[in-house]
Symmetry: C2
Subunit: 176 residues, 2 copies
């Protein structure tokens, strides 16, 4: 049951953080900070407030956001300790149904990526299937660190937008 | 079993975030960000990195940190959903053993504080007893918002330092 933006704007900070606290994975501080910017004119305005907050962070803060993300098809998926949102997204992309060859390739590439960049590979899993994710991971391992940090943050914002769209009605509902 | 700073500096970001992710309550992004600043010369240098990161946040980000904190003697204490660290600190200050009069006074003052400032009352509980906490809460309700935001962040840093000191050996161990 999605809320309209007026209902969002009426929330106390406690309810706002309870509902939206994980739109950026494990970073409720971001949600809690943008509550200060309410009222939001629209879902788009709420998305923009989050995006602006992220952009204003120092580079170390952006790396911090990436480091709060779990590996794809990693330890947290296997041990059942993913957040609800991450679990749904990873399962939707088939990350819980890799065959042994895919699974070991994914693990190897994740480690290579983390060794190279010192943060994990982040991709908006809901926009891709498993073959596509493996190919991107392999390709992105060859980028430079600055490019990958920016690319990871772009993906964080895509994930955030999809999570928000699951919670808030879009800006242009059909009015009959 | 506390680690020395060399052991801290040897941690992967994943282990670092697992161990230190809650030194600022529910803000693992801060821990994950300052990992970029390693190696740390000492525990004091690690504390300073966290403090500097917090100081560089916009005011909304500081409010975001405060809003990630639970009420003292509030809903999370009653329902058992506090973080381990918060539970120990609140219990140590007697927040789980308020008599009915204290309990209702605390609840009323917490609501008054949140209504006035739009973030919760944050105090380093381990440095105070319950009478002292109630008195401070009552007094701080009369401050201005800018003063209280800065005061709350000071308390966040005290909490952070005590949590860190429980995990990392201090800078000047006795060398015989």
């Amino acid at each position: 049951m999605r809320m309209d933006i007026a209902a969002v704007n009426a929330l106390s900070y406690e309810d706002f953080v309870n509902i939206f606290g994980n739109v950026v994975e494990k970073c409720p501080i971001i949600t809690a900070a943008v509550w200060s910017r309410r009222p939001f004119a629209s879902l788009t305005a709420l998305e923009a407030s989050i995006s602006d907050f992220i952009d204003a962070l120092p580079e170390s803060g952006k790396e911090g956001i990436l480091r709060c993300h779990p590996d794809l098809a990693g330890r947290d998926l296997q041990s059942g300790t993913l957040t609800r949102e991450s679990h749904e997204e990873q399962a939707g992309a088939g990350m819980d149904a890799l065959n042994p060859a895919e699974s070991s390739r994914m693990a190897r590439l994740n480690e290579e990526y983390k060794e190279r960049f010192e943060f994990p590979f982040v991709v908006c899993a809901r926009m891709h299937d498993k073959a596509n994710i493996l190919r991107q991971l392999s390709e992105r391992c060859r980028n430079g660190r600055v490019v990958e940090r920016a690319r990871g943050i772009e993906e964080v914002k895509k994930i955030c937008c999809l999570r928000l769209q699951g919670l808030v009605l879009s800006d242009a509902p059909n009015k009959l």
